[in-house]
Structures are given as C-alpha cells and as structure tokens.
Amino acid sequence: AQSVTQLDSQVPVFEEAPVELRCNYSSSVSVYLFWYVQYPNQGLQLLLKYLSGSTLVKGINGFEAEFNKSQTSFHLRKPSVHISDTAEYFCAVSQGRSGTYKYIFGTGTRLKVLA
C-alpha cells in the first residue's frame, strides 16, 4: 500500500524568505502526486499535481514542486513567501488503476509566515 510522509508538522518562516515543505512517498507502482492547501476554516484546494512528464511542476500562487523518483520525494517550494501563504499544506498520492483511483493524504504541514 502506498503512504505519504510529511515530516514537518509546523514550519515557521519570515515573510519574503524561501520555504520548502517536505513530502516523501512509498510506492512500487506508477506514482501520481498532489499538493493541496487549506486556508483557515476552509476546504482543501489544489496547488499543483504531478501525473507525468516534466518532473518540475508549477502551481498557483508561485509554488512549485519537483518529483524525484530516486529519492521518492515531492517537496513543495516557494522562493518568497507572503503572510497570505499561512495555511496548512497536504501532500497526497493517488493509488489504484484507471477509473478506480483513491487518494492517500499526508498528515499536513502548518506553514506560519511571520512578519
């Protein structure tokens, strides 16, 4: 069974500093990876996803992630964060076959951007 590990439960960072949120996965088959963001008291929304092709994926709000098969990682990065990026970030992996996919979520990383 596939699993997702987000080692950092909280990441504080100063405004305009770069940030990296780590995600590692375990899988023995084709991998499809997602990053979602959850702002306070809201549902999750998609930041970016890797399904195939280029290993560097760009998403909304200036975020990007790199799929690294040898390291089994899909770390999320942003070169300069804003106060408005304060939120919880979830990495997810999709498992299954065409038409039967399910999604496994990590435990989340709470990003706190400090002024």
Binding site: Q42, G43, G99, K102, Y103, F105
Partner: protein, 115 residues
C-alpha cells in the same frame, strides 16, 4: 457554479443521536468522497462512490453509512453518534479519472461535536 457544498456547517450532537450530512456538487462529477480530518492525522477516507447508486468503504468506515441516490448528492449518516466521531468532515468530488487520476474538489467542511 457553487462547486461542492456541505450542509450543515456546524452541529452538536449528544452521544447516541443520529444525523445526516449532505454533500452536493454541480460539476457533474462521477466520484464523490467523504473524509474526516483530525489533528495530526490528516484526512482519512470514510466512504466513497464511483457513481450513482454505488458506494464503497474507505479507510475508517465503522459507525458511518452513506448513500448516493442522485449523482449530485452524497449523504453521510451517523446512526448512533459517539464522542470519537467528533471531527471535521469534508466531502470531495472528482471526475472519473481515466486514464489518470483527477483533481479532487472539496467542500468547506462540517464541524461536528459529539458530547
């Protein structure tokens, strides 16, 4: 286009009471999901549906039942609520996912407290 909506937003129950959470989507999605979110545990799949009239168990189905009588609606029922079911419940929907998995769209959540 409302996306995914959930009713109610908040609810307080006493142990042993029953209730139904309603999820509605207007994107004509085939797949619908119910998750619960607990601190430090991320999102865990309760039940899901791959089409009208079909449901299946997820990771934590005990104590819950679901129905998908109409394509746009997915109901989650608690027959006899327990304090362990205190959580935030999220509904999500996605397109079929053939051949690759699709993005999930989430509702705003229902906060349930069981006393």
């Amino acid at each position: 286009n409302a996306g995914v909506t959930q009713t109610p937003k908040f609810r307080v129950l006493k142990t042993g009471q029953s209730m139904t959470l309603l999820c509605a989507q207007d994107m004509n999605h085939e797949y619908m999901y119910w998750y619960r979110q607990d601190p430090g545990m991320g999102l865990r799949l309760i039940h899901y549906s791959v089409g009208e009239g079909t449901t299946a168990k997820g990771e934590v189905p005990d104590g819950y039942n679901v129905s998908r009588l109409k394509k746009q609606n997915f109901l989650l029922g608690l027959e006899s609520a327990a304090p362990s079911q205190t959580s935030v419940y999220f509904c999500a929907s996605s397109a079929r996912g053939t051949p690759l998995p699709e993005t999930q769209y989430f509702g705003p959540g229902t906060r349930l407290l069981v006393l």
